[in-house]
Amino acid sequence: MSFMQIQDLRVHYPIRGGFFNTIQDHVLAVDGISMEFEEGKTYGLVGESGCGKSTTGKSIIGLEKITSGKIIYEGKDVTNARRQRNSAYNRDIQMIFQDAHSSLNPRKRVSEILAEPLRNFMKLTPDEERRRINELLAIVGMPEDVKLKYPHEFSGGQKQRIGIARAIATNPKLIIADEPVSALDLSVQAQVLNFMKDIQKELGLTYLFISHDLGVVKHMCDEINIMYKGRFVETGTKQDIYSNPEHIYTKRLLSAIPNIEPATRDERKIERQRVEANYQVENKKYFDENGRVFDLRPISDTHQVAMTASEQGGN
């Protein structure tokens, strides 16, 4: 049973212009998406740059204003309450940032960084607080003497682990991971990702995993949402998306995964060209005349695709 639902979330930014600086148009950064979160699962949010992935994450956690739509957390509508800093919602939803370096205050020691959420959300005695910080460092596999260090003294992977330790400090239910590894090199990526999987099992976390790296998403996620121009084009389980992509955009995205197999190079090139040609031909079927993605339509229990065929509109 899902503990949190997002219904028809929209984030629109006004474009101002003209003589009186009036609102001319809107950027539809996020345009009507719905999701459900179940405990212990990982949800992938995939798409190209600028498709609204990060905006979705930020609006869920309350860093962006929502234009319309609802966020329901444990049966309660928290759409407006989420911007109150001390709410339970804010405690239970945490975020891992893309750039670990800039997400840690350069003037604070690790112990102060980790104490920040604890002081805000949990009433701990100084002794309990110190024990909890030691515990967090143990979870992310760092020695206790890092407590007195400053963020610039760590490598990228270590910084990201401090970011993760901070995110799990208050025992959250959902962690929004906004491209948590895209700033790290490949060897460290694997390390951080496996480690995120481990603590997920240990603590029963739910992840909303935002990424543009399809390989990483395949490794991490149970359910995947493909996003394009602020809307979902296809959602489904990992098997649905990777073995049975229905939407032309998903196909195009999957065909773009790099593969270092020299033997099949020409075949893959022909395949990619076929997908691209198909994309141009079938454009009308999947996007309306303004290039907008159609509403999602279920094609199996878990698999939904945005296609024109149905007028009733899925979801």
Partner: protein, 302 residues
């Protein structure tokens, strides 16, 4: 992973912090001998002026004694006397003290107001920013010197305190604008967002998270403001709009040079004050420049 949780390492580890504003500034001064000399000179001068001024009775000092009119420097008056027979040295000390006191108070008041308003407008942006920026634009467009002179003419009984307040009304805007522009970019950084998601309130984020990261430019701004503010009182007194005539002032002493007779025959009336102002301003400016260089990694010497 978690074998030894109880080991307390807090005492053992030497804290290797990133070079903070203060450390960088210290290194810069160590490299720049002129700035170091200026700093020492300033510290000594200011201490001497403040201690000495306590020993001087201002009423006694400003009493006119016609027998000592234009007395040359000598046994009784080390730096001679003016045309009212008043000790120049005493006036110099009290005048310098007033100038420095005014400079420090104006710098502190405008600094606190400017930094607070700059940080708040930069952090929140939107309509708060808009309102304050329009107010600041208004303050910048009005001719402040004229208004200060008018103020001084109409306020019946003005003292150092009223003078400081009048000056402060006009001088906080520059600091506020500078701090706002820095706060704007700083507040879009991820660590501010992270603090927001971790439930820290806006006030704490502004003053405990953001302000320490802007400390270097705040220090620079305050020092350079101080250098400018030392000349404030002197300039207005020279024009005749400074502190009341019963208060000794460097500006009044320099203004004696307007009289060709004194300029030619009684150098001790105007020269010491002019030299003191010159040295004071130069020293503060060298210190300010060293601090400004230390805030910008490309200009640093140390």
């Amino acid at each position: 992973m978690a074998e030894k949780q109880t080991v307390d390492v807090e005492k053992k580890t030497p804290a290797a912090s990133p070079p903070t504003g203060i450390q960088v500034i210290a290194r810069e001064f160590a490299k720049d001998k002129l700035a170091m000399t200026s700093l020492l000179f300033l510290i000594v001068l200011i201490t001497v002026i403040y201690v000495w001024s306590f020993l001087i009775d201002q009423e006694q000092l400003m009493r006119i004694s016609l027998r000592d009119q234009m007395a040359a420097p000598g046994e009784k008056y080390w730096l001679g006397a003016d045309k009212g027979g008043r000790d120049i040295l005493g006036q110099l000390i009290i005048g310098a003290r007033n100038s420095i006191t005014i400079a420090i108070s104006v710098t502190l008041i405008t600094g606190i107001i400017g930094i607070a308003i700059g940080l708040i407008t930069g952090y929140f942006g939107g309509w708060i920013d808009n309102i304050f920026m329009r107010i600041i634009d208004f303050f910048i467009t009005i001719p402040s010197l004229m208004i200060i002179i008018v103020f001084i003419s109409i306020v019946p009984k003005y003292t150092v305190v009223t003078f400081v307040l009048i000056m402060s009304v006009f001088l906080w805007v520059g600091t506020a604008r500078l701090v706002r522009s820095k706060a704007l970019s700083e507040s879009r950084r991820d660590y501010i967002n992270a603090s927001k998601t971790m439930g820290t309130s806006d006030g704490v984020i502004i003053f405990k998270e953001m302000m320490p990261n802007l400390s270097s430019i705040l220090i620079v701004e305050m020092t350079l403001n101080f250098a400018g503010n030392v000349g404030l009182e002197t300039g207005l007194s020279y024009l005749g709009f400074g502190l009341p005539p019963s208060t000794p002032s460097l500006g009044t002493l320099v203004a004696y040079a307007n009289d060709p007779f004194i300029l030619e025959n009684a150098w001790w009336n105007w020269l010491p004050a002019s030299l003191l102002i010159l040295l004071l301003m130069l020293a503060i400016n060298y210190v300010g420049q060293a601090i400004r260089r230390s805030a910008d990694a490309r200009q640093r010497l140390g």
